[in-house]
Symmetry: C2
Subunit: 292 residues, 2 copies
């Protein structure tokens, strides 16, 4: 038995016992994976193919009112016109907390853009060790890892109930043939992701635990600000364990570092709720995690 994923939905049917490579996780992900495995909803009911037109229309979201619009496609891009005939745009899907959008090893079909909510992308090595590559939030792309090989290299798992928008990649490439801005947009997306990861490499290779955590918080803060949310008060959607798994630390160290930042008067922090008290002070601590 395995969890239903969006990719399967996309394909129309869950493959029979797709040989799940051993995922003898360390501490982390087994939990999340399990939760997802037990996600109750039969997604197939919502497949475009199997959904009555009315319902489909309801699902299909109008790009013009999408809060991710300005992050998703190039400025001035007319999704209505461009996607009119082939239905490239507006294919939204709900995801529940813990559910996979796709899993490593699955064939790559779509890019996804987070519309509502957030998720984590997770690389898993042969020994079952996990590394969280990123925590995409609204407007950010998910699934670029699959383009190179045609198979996803990461898992993408929702951190909370949310909505993603599926963009069939082939259609997108095709569409980009006559649209310079779209071609360029795709290149830029990927390149920026490359630079983001390199900043993470810097963080992992050369920073202390405290610096890493501060960089992480500043990065979140900045991305929230870009989306019109408070840059000072926010809610971490991920656990300490997941933060650690992202930053190359243990959950205990993450917790201790947060406590330390509190005691330094730089942040206030109650569970997942974080308030930045002294932004400048934080920036002083960190070597700067160059963000999106």
């Amino acid at each position: 038995m395995h969890s239903t994923t969006l990719a399967e939905i996309e394909l129309g049917a869950p493959r029979a016992a797709m040989s799940l490579p051993h995922r003898a996780a360390g501490r982390l992900a087994t939990q999340g994976a399990r939760a997802a495995a037990e996600a109750p909803i039969a997604w197939h009911a919502q497949l475009p193919e199997s959904t009555p037109n009315a319902a489909r229309a309801a699902e299909r979201n109008d790009c013009e009112h999408c809060s991710s619009r300005k992050f998703c496609m190039p400025e001035g891009f007319d999704t209505k016109k461009a996607g009119a005939q082939n239905g490239v745009f507006g294919n939204t899907r709900k995801v529940k907390q813990g559910e996979a959008i796709f899993r490593a090893g699955e064939p790559f079909k779509n890019l996804y853009v987070a519309k509502v909510g957030s998720c984590k992308t997770v690389a898993i090595d042969n020994d079952g060790r996990e590394q969280i590559i990123g925590f995409p939030i609204a407007g950010e792309f998910i699934g670029l890892d699959g383009i190179g090989t045609g198979v996803h290299a990461f898992d993408a798992v929702a951190l909370e109930d949310g909505v993603v928008c599926a963009l069939p990649f082939n259609a997108l490439t095709e569409m980009s043939e006559h649209d310079f801005s779209l071609r360029s947009h795709l290149h830029k997306l990927m390149s920026r992701e490359l630079v983001r990861e390199s900043a993470l490499l810097m963080l992992m290779g050369r920073m202390t635990a405290l610096e890493r955590l501060v960089s992480f918080l500043l990065n979140i803060s900045k991305r929230y600000a870009q989306r019109g949310y408070s840059s000072h008060d926010f809610n971490l959607r991920m656990t300490r364990d997941e933060i650690g798994c992202h930053l190359g630390l243990t959950l205990e160290t993450v917790s201790r570092s947060l406590s330390k930042l509190s005691s330094l008067g730089l942040v206030k922090c109650a569970g997942k709720q974080v308030s930045i008290i002294d932004m400048a002070g934080l920036e002083e601590v960190s070597g700067h995690y160059i963000p999106h």
Copy 2:
């Protein structure tokens, strides 16, 4: 007697020692940067636009005989025809050891493909800390980091005298308009680079010093093998310091780890010359650094 290097193989014969700019590398970072900062050559002076035709012809290399050909462009791509009018292909440039191909902050114009030799790509944070992102060798792309912002995010510095091929990116994008395979090729390149970096993240976040070094060696070995060189005997072109800077370790730890691998009988190692004795044994040690 030393082992044949990639550069020599490519050129058919060891060149007479060209005056080597000294590459002072103390604790790597600033030193290397400074040395290179004073590198005399202005690369942009050698762009096709500003180069006399005769010199250009001499510089221009025939793609058909380029050993990087199969890595560089999609299979079956006709560079002669495609690039005939606009001179996109064959713009080779020599680089000396320690010289920068480009530097962070410079405007992004070209992608580069290493033809002969190898280099390092280096990210530098606000505090001057360095992180080596990769060691591209023949056939690998350099400069993808600049696409997103139009400005290079990394330094790229030659590890040895060599040759790179400059591909004007705008021309490439333009050319990709009517060439699906080229468009797809570019996407795949970047995506694969993304996955490569994520494997590095895994390495940095979750592996011990020994595992990191083994992963590194296996990665090199594999890439050499892909190029038809020995996967068992090779010459590291970078210093221990640079290896450490890539793997998030100190040079001492790199040295000790190498010694340990020697004493375990897995490799033999004299200075930069490395021989893998027990490939399977190495693979057992590592959590696998998923490579190119």
